[in-house]
Amino acid sequence: MDKPYRVVAGIDFGTHGTGFAWAAVSEDNAGPGRRRISFFEDWAGQNIAYPKNRSAVLTDASGQFLAWGYDAVARIAAAPPGSGWRVRTGFKMALQAALRDLGTTAGGDAGVVISDGEPDAYRLTVMCLRQVVASARERITSGAYEDEDIRWCVTVPAIWEQATQDLMFKAAVEAGLPDDPDRLLLAQEPAVAALYCKAKGDGPLNTPGTRFLVVDAGGGTVDVSCYQVDDDGGLIERAPAVGTPTGSDFLNVAFLEEILTERFGAGTIGRILAERRGAVADTMNSWERAKRSFSADSADDVIIHLSGSFFAGLVKEQQTGRWTGTGEPATEVVISHAQVAALFDRHIDEIMKVVERQLAEMRAATRASGGETVLLVGGFAESPYLRARLARSLGDQDVRLVVPQSPAVAVLAGAVHYAYSEASGESEFVSWSAPFTVGIQAALPFRPGVDPESRKKENAAGEERCSGRFDVFFASRAAVAVGEPVRRIYRPMREEQSVITLDLLSTDQADVEYVSDPGVETLATLTVDLSASLHLPIAERRIEVAMYLDQTRIRVEARNPETDEPQSVNIEWQ
């Protein structure tokens, strides 16, 4: 057997929770439909078994690691006075610059923070992932497997930028995963969720021609991607994934900032947040449970159970005359169905906008309308209210909503399926839709009457070139065959050049000519070493650049076509 991997493992590193799962690579496991995937639920330091642990890190005053997961949230309650301990959450969202300003600092260590612009989100991500990786490695190798038998897959949101995905790869390596793109795969969350649903046989996902969307509603982001099943059952991505940072954790923030503050007053809630951090986290857990069961089917009030310490804090507020709430303290908060529904609706409206945008993209790309399927996955997909709202809105547009059996583990199990199919060289994806135009700044042959004279330059061979051209490798929204590179040959302009520096560019425009066109951005700088070719005549000092665009990464390779020797390429993301 040629496959070097005997076991594949998936890690779903979520904004709210993180888990891992794995599957043995064997003949009996080859079919995705009957593949046995093992889930882990016995986290150290956690009395209650659960497939995901909390993506939380407890640090001391100097920022050093103390604990992680639910254990971290529980231990903050026992923090010595003045210790400066902090529970850090939401750091996954802070990895990407564009998402950093969305959060709130309310609650601080209450376990509900989406992002408070953590400057050290990367470091916290490494800390958290290191624990997950250690647990996964310990469990998988506790039997007969060796570490080198494992192929890993870590999932990332579809809306993450290239540089953030690269940062995630780096964080995963620093956390202990192999620094080898063949052994460590990154995969987009909705894409792997599609594999899970396909394996489950949910909906007509194995029927050629079927068009479907995957809505991955997690704690931080809601990602939407769209695919069409080709004649061989492979998946063609029809438009680049889109998303919105309106995951279910934002409902937690709204609950804390709006509902609890309204009930208890800003003064009381502020003091409880400052003095009883563990108590707030427990109360948020009660809200989390209530949120998951909130339904449109009944008009019953929603009951949030306060933790003992929270209730004691309210009583103390009253006894000391500082109570700023309405009525008397009680052991629970009762919220009207309408108020919770309004909270949900605000977020679901944003989700629907993104779903409809992606639906329109797919309809335009496939020139067909109606009869689509929407697969709803992710932790938020367990919400009966979200399901009902989406089903109603989509039904009006001739779209059917399907929720798989276990939507909360769809990404986790999908990551295992993805690693398995890639390990066996049987990718289920046929092509990706380029999310933007990608190319390289180059001096291309001068086109008289087309290129401006100001750009005309002569190279060492006396040829007229046009400087500052955007040499397009992948045009925005073009189908990019999985694993197929685009190749270009470049030569140095000057005799004495020992390196070729190439700017990797991107733009949203599909039609682009020059690097100075509006919207063109530099993604990275590639430096290709030519020193080994300096003995050759300049006309023979060529490099071939091969660029791959997969679902999560742009990969660039360079080689000398004369000698077939690979040239070292260094990429610095901007």
Binding site: S26, G143, A144, E332
Partner: protein, 271 residues
């Protein structure tokens, strides 16, 4: 070559040898003869060698054929070895997968369904049962923690502690003055509990744990009912713990604690 006539002074035929100087014809002929003799000797030598080689060729040819056969045998042995290695690798993967399946300790997706059942259980108790308590207790949310806990405990015992869920028994827990709507809600609660009890019998063995010791709360698997005495001893179980397999805890038991003279948990917090 110079040339000369026969009469007159005797002419001598001379030829130029290889080095240039002219030599007589006799000398030249003698040289040629010697050379021919040498060539003949060489030819004889070559002939002998050829005869020897002719003898060796069949041996070599045979050796070559043998080597070819050996190479073929080796290749086929190597192919066979590769096939056997692949087959062994597949069998090894199968064995490893079996070991993993039986001793790996991971849970299947089917087994994970219990987490969904726990969510249903918690939602039923925390939303519907407590909601009914707040509705039928005279002081609603302002009822004491004990009043709420006692009602929830009795309902949970009927829903999850009795051999069967009997609607009328549970409706009997409602105050006589309770509106008909409360009875209807209790019937809905009973229906939900019956459905849940049917589901939890699938897959991993499951149990609702009502047992307790009249001792301080064991935070490993219990937690106090909000508003009960802090640092007290367990007086009764409000909601049962949810266990699967031998002792895997999926939801903690909620207990009402009390201690003679102890105050409810309204003291300043610990932090």
């Amino acid at each position: 070559m110079d040339t000369a006539g026969d009469d007159g002074p005797r002419l001598q035929l001379r030829v130029a040898n290889n080095d240039g100087p002219a030599v007589s014809l006799e000398e030249w002929m003698s040289f040629i003869t010697a050379e021919l003799t040498r060539q003949q000797a060489v030819m004889q030598q070559l002939s002998i060698q050829l005869a020897e080689l002719s003898h060796e060729v069949p041996v070599l040819r045979s050796a070559l054929t043998e080597s070819r056969l050996s190479a073929q045998t080796l290749r086929s042995a190597s192919d066979e070895l590769r096939r056997r290695m692949d087959a062994l690798d597949q069998r090894l993967n199968k064995v490893l997968a079996l070991i993993e399946e039986n001793f790996g300790g991971g849970q299947t997706e089917q087994a994970m369904q219990h987490h969904d059942y726990v969510d249903e259980y918690v939602a039923l108790v925390e939303q519907k049962v407590v909601g009914l308590a707040l509705e039928i207790l005279p002081d609603g949310t302002q009822a004491t923690a004990r009043e709420k806990a006692e009602f929830v405990a009795e309902v949970c015992a009927g829903l999850f502690g009795a051999p069967q869920v009997i609607d009328e028994q549970l409706i009997g827990l409602l105050p006589t003055a309770a509106p008909e709507e409360a009875s209807q809600r209790m019937r809905e609660i009973c229906a939900c509990a019956r459905a849940l009890r049917a589901k939890v019998t699938q897959g991993r063995p499951q149990r609702w744990e009502f047992g307790y010791e009249p001792a301080p709360v064991d935070s490993q698997w219990q937690e106090p009912w909000t508003g009960a005495a802090r640092d007290g001893v367990v007086e009764f179980v409000v909601t049962p713990a949810y266990f699967v397999d031998t002792n895997t805890l999926l939801h903690k038991q909620k207990v009402f604690t009390s201690e003679a003279g102890s105050a409810p948990d309204t003291d300043p917090a610990e932090d």
